[in-house]
């Protein structure tokens, strides 16, 4: 029993350690993005504390940006609620996807905590690990990335344009670098995924310019493309193995 306990704690520690390590580049990217978000918050008339609170509770870039715009425009609470639903609906899909990757024996509380941690990036690195979700890995990453996001917003409200633009520009691609690190290695192993990634790039590019769809918000376009392309991929290339047991 004692040996069993030690091996369990070794796994937890490794998961947590890996999470802290992978949370660092995410945190750096978050600092840059949330810094510019903080500038938007200041322009909307929020105090540094309000910007910090919004980021600490919401953890969503596009959603928060929309929220600050709405606050500045003195929108109704109902409008704010609707925009939230639209801007953040993609997390519903991610949550669905994660629900299928939890170990059946995993306690329910982890699902409540992980739910709070679902951002594009943390979802990406969580799902990129083979096998069942290791909650401690995600907690480790969130422990670094979460505070960076909130503090970056706070600094953005206070310091405005102090950070050199060139540095902000360089840091702002950190997030996309992480997305690439998640989608490219499986593309190398699996031609279907490689093809789908290319279709996504093309579809996403076109949707920015095609009539009607280009007038939608970024969040809405992401949902439409995700649902449409994933449905088509599932129809054309059904996956044979049990997702939870994939390794």
């Amino acid at each position: 029993m004692k040996k069993f306990r030690t091996s369990i704690s070794a796994v937890f520690n490794r998961g947590l350690r890996d999470g802290l390590r992978d949370g660092l580049p995410i945190g750096l990217g978050y600092l840059a993005v949330s810094f510019s978000l903080g500038i938007a918050a200041r322009n909307a008339g929020l105090t540094a504390f309000q910007g910090f609170l919004a980021s600490a509770l919401i953890n969503a870039s596009a959603g928060e940006y929309a929220l600050f715009t709405l606050i500045a425009a003195r929108a109704t609470y109902l409008e704010a609620a609707l925009v939230t639903l639209i801007a953040n609906a993609r997390y519903l899909l991610m949550s669905f996807s994660l629900s299928q990757r939890f170990a059946p024996s995993s306690p329910l509380r982890h699902r409540f905590f992980i739910g709070f941690d679902i951002t594009d990036e943390l979802f990406g690195i969580t799902i990129a690990r083979p096998g069942h979700v290791d909650p401690y890995y995600t907690y480790g990453a969130f422990l670094i990335a979460g505070p960076c996001w909130a503090v970056g917003t706070l600094l953005g409200v206070i310091a405005g344009n102090l950070l050199p633009l060139r540095l902000v520009s360089a840091l702002s691609v950190a997030l996309y670098g992480m997305f690439l690190a998640v989608i490219i290695p499986p593309s190398r192993k699996n031609k279907v995924i490689a093809g789908i990634v290319l279709v996504c790039f093309a579809g996403s590019y076109l949707s920015k310019y095609l009539p009607v769809i280009s007038s939608l918000s970024d969040g809405m376009r992401i949902i439409i493309l995700t649902v449409f392309i994933s449905l088509a991929a599932a129809l054309l290339f059904p996956v044979k193995q049990d997702i939870g047991k994939e390794d």
Partner: protein, 101 residues
């Protein structure tokens, strides 16, 4: 109707948390349907790919830097290096290109 900033923040925080947590907590059994399983299998790749391009090109001061970051990021990730290295290479490329443009 008031315009209290804290109420706006609370509305968004509650709705966002519900969106993130409801599927996770309500669906605790594996879904057996192969079509739906396949759909969920592809969702992460599709959504991350859609968010990466062309957004990476719009994120930088000059589009050339963003495009270079995309290419370098793909090459470095293709070679199987970790998250941090891929991310750092993208940032470095943008930094150096924008020094000269």
């Amino acid at each position: 109707m008031g315009h209290n900033v804290y109420i706006y923040i609370m509305i968004m925080a509650v709705i966002t948390y519900a969106i993130r947590t409801l599927p996770l907590t309500l669906i605790r059994k594996p879904i057996k349907n192969q079509f739906f399983q396949s759909f969920l299998y592809y969702v992460p790749y599709v959504t991350l790919a859609v968010m990466t391009f062309p957004a990476i090109i719009d994120a930088t001061q000059t589009p050339v830097a963003g495009a270079a970051a995309l290419i370098v990021g793909i090459i470095v990730a293709w070679r199987g290096t970790g998250l941090f290295q891929v991310s750092a290479s993208c940032c470095a490329v943008v930094f150096f290109i924008e020094l000269f443009f």
